[in-house]
Symmetry: C2
């Protein structure tokens, strides 16, 4: 078996590259961070990917055009006014090698001093900027109010290169300066350079854009450490030119505060304002248009254009409205698990997708005494569930191939992985797997942030998010059809007729739970009607939570539970008894694990089926509402047991629990994926131990199956 | 030793009563629930208390005046509109033996149908009442909106008698009907009857009002069980007459929703609205005026008037503005622990206070095989700390003396207790104990609810409150001066100059934390200024919490910590390292216990002293702010260790930690109370085991002291 695999290579590694291509069945070669492909390697019988930077790595140009550097709005630290005059050293805490204040444009026009105690902007006549000391002095301040300055900076160091530079101690290697293609010279240069580059790199088959124009927000502090990171952040898209063009187009002016947003910088956890959504749309259209120009140049040269999903990807959202207009051939992204795999493999409108698997062939993993197989197995087994639902078209690796080569067990293991991948891919053959239900994940972002909810930095664990992200990870490999729905989708088009279950999950007030959006009666009634007519609603954590009208969960009537905030302590809560047997916990073997969980959930009436009650509160419950049901879960960190709990919640909420055991494995360590169009089905052991399980075929007939550790058993239907 | 002790007695128990009076040094006798004092007992050499009911227990009158029954506004359950017509059986879930709908007054004028999905009232033309079926039919309803009816009822059964009646299975004993002294006949009757009663009860020395006019809100459900209980609730003060008089006086009309309040019925946990505060004031003035008339009648007959703090006590708030006008001689109340003891003993403007201690001499405790000493000891030791600070003037017991008499060990123990009480009382001799600091507990209610914060039903434990109530319990016996301050106090008069530390504690949004009151910049700046100038601020749980301006804790700058709500996950949180040694945990022996605790607290900068960090979050921290400090505690369930933690927090926040060890015991099980005016001090062992401790005198000199279990060692200064 051969193909669908991309390897990194490097200079002086020709014979071994050939050998590794053979052993892993690779048909493409790439350069990587710190490596370049020599001509002899480019001459091999392989598709050649070459990394291409649009808006950095051209310092000879950038240094001539420092006025075209990228910009950001930053917020100073808060300074409390002791007296009526307050001095704000606004650059304090920032990394002066990364950002420098923009004194080119009129500070009075483009900056803002905020009284954070009142939330009001301070009149521009009341403050002045000392450009030598980088201090704003506010006069007539109110003692004991807190003040901040929102100020424009130029970014003079690309964040990814900065991170690598500092982490790897690259010394005096030049800092790559990010320039803004919205500016005249940069826009022109970015195209002309590409034309020439394509001429200079005739062996390149695939231009791997890393990426386009604007890096996600990544700001360092004065100790050269990360201060702020938002994988979705539009921070670096800002410029005076952009703001002026925005005003012209939209007929209103954005304030610094629209971008700075109290220092939250419009994190995806914020319920987005209409102004910020306008701004995102404005940037996305610009980025799509400019990126298309580059892609067309690539195509004109007879090459393919591939985008790396990360780094300078802002504005290219692959699930956004404008993404198809870019005309990319492919997207490649890093795979952290099932959800990030689906984030790549579900991307519509490209010829192929590629997942870069872990570990990266870097010395942090590939050192003597360490077994890189462990990370590889975890990564592969974690992502494989999702591959079974919707495979990426290719897999690949990054780093120094020469490093990996020194670990023969690893080389063997990846050989098995690549074969297994190709077998999966061939057996699925582009067909749609059997889906027992269609599930919509509902939040402020919907499709735009498909598989990306609850993410801060790409695929990183956060205490405040893992109890929700587990839901996405569980869904990524589950036998259900998954879509992402926004509140605005529902308001505009209603709830799609083919949806069986809606999930709303997250912490109160966030864009994922929905915050004040739940005060909109059209939303609340749409979901009540949907459930009443037989749909399912699964709420995780603090679903539909905003305190109004005597309720915290605005869908408490559907869920049958609410959260006690203290205001209704006077009302007796009699309903505390667990249902001893319940569909939701039928095959639970281990103790429940709700992760961070949620406190003080209580049942509204005896109609609520309490599935788990401990420590004086409910953590799992169900409740009939018309023909449908609401199911409440206090949290869902990822595990196979919790995946099963979610699946059961979905079927139960939709009132279709009788249909769950089709293409189903009783053992929660195992899953069944069926492909009716190709007449195949697979029984998968997700665990690293041998397992036995009853396997149900599509008609609900069971048979006992034994599986080796992590085995996939392929059968004909 | 003799005196300051009140016993219950009963018929047929004359000789034993004499014996018990002797053994416990009692000088007063009382009747009790279910007992009456016969003439022979009333003739003993003792002050005779007689329970007196003003507004119930006169059914012969009440039945003739059913139109003068007390009233309440109740909210129906929520009914979801399926179609455009929705029927609301509003009495569903209520106990028809307790309340009946008021069809006497115009429903269209006095009732309200609420659309709870929009928060708006439905036009009175759109609904009708079926008075036979007790159903409101709403026409033109919006499908999938929830509707409720706020309706007036007559109360036809006094809640306390109802509770006793049902609990003790009193069968066909008549239901006592509560009438409203605001009504003409009832107002007249209540006075005339008292005049006659005083004539009929010449042996009564003290008329023990139980209580005056309006019972705290206590509503039962259709299964004759408690449905709603609020010890502070004004539910039963409502009537059409009251509402009309309110409108005349205040110039605006209260809506049913002003009383019903989303079904929360203005629980003390709610940040009170101005309209509700107006209403409370209106009722308090009325109650004070009417109660004074009765007290004057009592005084006119040469007797004393004592009020029981509970049951029909609404409007008599002993810390309220109008309480002194009533002219009571005494207040008696039930003692659940230190805070409820102080609630009684701190009452200003009466000649004496009395605490009724536990256990009540009832069969639920006094049965064969049970040891009632256990409850008595817990109650006594718990309340004794508070007595050492501010004693009640008398203690007493209730129930059947004949029951207690059968438990000789109990009789012995109470003999010791009464002696110990008298010794404490005599040694303190009305003097002010040494207070190292003056502490203000700040919330929406201030002095009006002194020692009553976080209470739902009197002295009952609630999962959602014990982590805050522990602060009050700790303070009740602590060597500091305690006052209660409201936000309005600060806005009106500023922060009193003699206050050293302000405590704000509670769950976000509640009246105790303060909710949206913290958006008022005068409050925030007043406290910042206070701390900046050297004051202390101790925040417990979710202090000053309301999400605004990029902060959840509006005093995050003072505390040095805030709570992560999800919006600022993109900001790196580097400050996670505990200070290894810190004043706040110097003598901590046991693991910290924060009760329900609070999640996701993080430090704003390295200036925050992290005293306890676990599970990725801070639970104890301190932070300098000007000359003062903020201290954060994630919760403070009551314990001796936590009392010490609080004391340390108070001294540390005020920057006076050097002064803590005056009149101080190192062992947290022990406390020292000094009375400079009388030249005495006491070393108290609060535990049931022998203890050794270093004891510091007022000059800071230490000596080692050994104490028997629960011993008090009295010394001269």
């Amino acid at each position: 078996m051969k193909g669908r695999v991309t390897l990194p290579s490097e200079a002086g590694f020709l014979e071994e590259t050939k050998e590794m291509m053979e052993r892993w069945g690779a048909d493409a070669l790439r350069d990587s961070d710190g490596t370049k492909l020599p001509e002899e390697i480019k001459a091999l019988d392989a598709t050649i990917y070459t990394t291409y930077f649009v808006a950095r790595g051209h310092n000879e140009f950038a240094k001539e055009h420092m006025e075209e550097c990228q910009q950001l709005y930053l917020m100073s630290r808060r300074v409390t006014a002791g007296k009526q005059t307050v001095q704000i050293p606004f650059m304090e805490g920032y990394f002066t090698q990364q950002v420098v204040p923009d004194y080119v444009h009129d500070c009075k026009r483009w900056w803002e001093v905020m009284d954070r105690t009142t939330g009001e902007a301070v009149d521009a006549d009341s403050w002045d900027v000392d450009q030598t000391r980088h201090v704003v002095t506010v006069k007539g301040a109110v003692p004991f109010h807190e003040y901040t300055v929102s100020f424009l900076v130029y970014a003079v160091w690309d964040p990814t290169q900065m991170y690598n530079h500092i982490t790897n101690d690259w010394g005096d290697k030049p800092h790559e300066i990010p320039f803004d293609v919205r500016q005249p010279a940069s826009g022109q240069y970015s195209k002309e350079y590409l034309v020439q580059w394509l001429k200079d790199n005739p062996r390149t088959d695939v231009v791997r854009f890393t990426t386009f124009f604007y890096h996600f927000t990544l700001v360092f502090n004065d100790r050269a450490k990360e201060k702020f990171v938002d994988w979705f952040g539009y921070g670096a898209t800002v410029s005076v030119k952009a703001l002026e063009e925005f005003e012209k187009e939209y007929g209103y002016r954005l304030r610094p505060e629209d971008i700075v947003d109290n220092g939250y910088y419009n994190s995806t956890f914020r319920v987005p304002s209409v102004r910020y959504l306008d701004y995102m749309d404005f940037i996305q259209r610009f980025v799509a248009e400019k990126a298309r120009e580059l892609v067309e140049i690539v195509h004109g040269a007879g090459r393919e254009a591939m985008m790396f999903l990360g780094d300078n990807w802002i504005g290219t959202e692959p699930y956004g409205k404008y993404f198809p207009e870019i005309g990319l051939d492919a997207v490649v992204g890093s795979v952290g698990g099932g959800a990030t795999l689906r984030l790549i493999s579900d991307i519509p409108g490209v010829k192929y997708t590629e997942g870069r698997f872990l570990p990266y062939f870097f010395p942090d993993t590939f050192y003597e005494g360490n077994d890189p197989c462990k990370e590889a197995m975890e990564n592969w087994i974690g992502a494989r569930r999702a591959l079974m639902r919707k495979p990426v078209d290719r897999i690949g690796y990054g780093g120094y191939l020469s490093l990996a080569y020194k670990f023969p067990r690893f080389v063997d293991y990846i050989g098995q992985v690549t074969d297994e991948f190709r077998r999966i891919y061939d057996n699925i053959a582009g067909s749609r797997p059997y889906c027992g239900l269609k599930v919509a994940v509902l939040n402020c972002w919907g499709q735009l942030r498909a598989w990306q909810a609850f993410m801060v930095a790409h695929a990183l664990w956060y205490k405040q998010t893992y109890s929700y992200f587990g839901m996405l990870e569980a869904l990524s490999g589950a036998g259900v059809d998954v879509m992402f729905l926004s509140f605005d989708d529902i308001k505009r088009d209603g709830i799609p007729a083919d949806i069986d279950v809606i999930i709303n999950a997250g912490a109160a007030g966030t864009a994922f739970s929905g915050g004040e959006r739940w005060l909109e009666e059209e939303l609340v009634t749409a979901i009540r009607r949907f459930v009443y007519n037989g749909g399912g609603f699964v709420g995780i954590g603090e679903p539909a939570a905003v305190h109004f009208g005597g309720r915290y969960f605005q869908l408490a009537d559907v869920l049958g539970v609410d959260k006690e905030l203290g205001f209704s302590l006077s009302t007796d809560k009699y309903f505390t008894k667990e249902v001893p047997c319940h569909f939701l916990k039928e095959d639970r073997r281990e103790a429940f694990d709700f992760g961070e969980s949620v406190k003080n959930i209580y049942a509204l009436s005896e109609d609520t089926e309490i599935v788990e009650y401990s420590d004086g509160e409910i953590h799992v419950s169900a409740h009939g509402y018309g023909k449908g049901r609401g199911v409440y879960l206090a949290g869902l960190p990822y595990s196979y047991e919790n995946t099963r709990l979610l699946i059961r919640s979905l079927y139960y909420s939709a009132g279709r629990e009788g249909e769950m055991k089709r293409w189903y494995a009783d053992n929660p360590m195992c899953e069944v994926h069926a492909y009716p169009e190709t007449g195949k089905y697979a029984v998968v052991n997700n665990s690293m131990e041998a397992q036995k399980t009853a396997v149900y075929d599509g008609a609900g007939n069971a048979r006992e199956v034994s599986l080796e550790k992590s085995e996939i058993l392929w059968e004909n239907i």
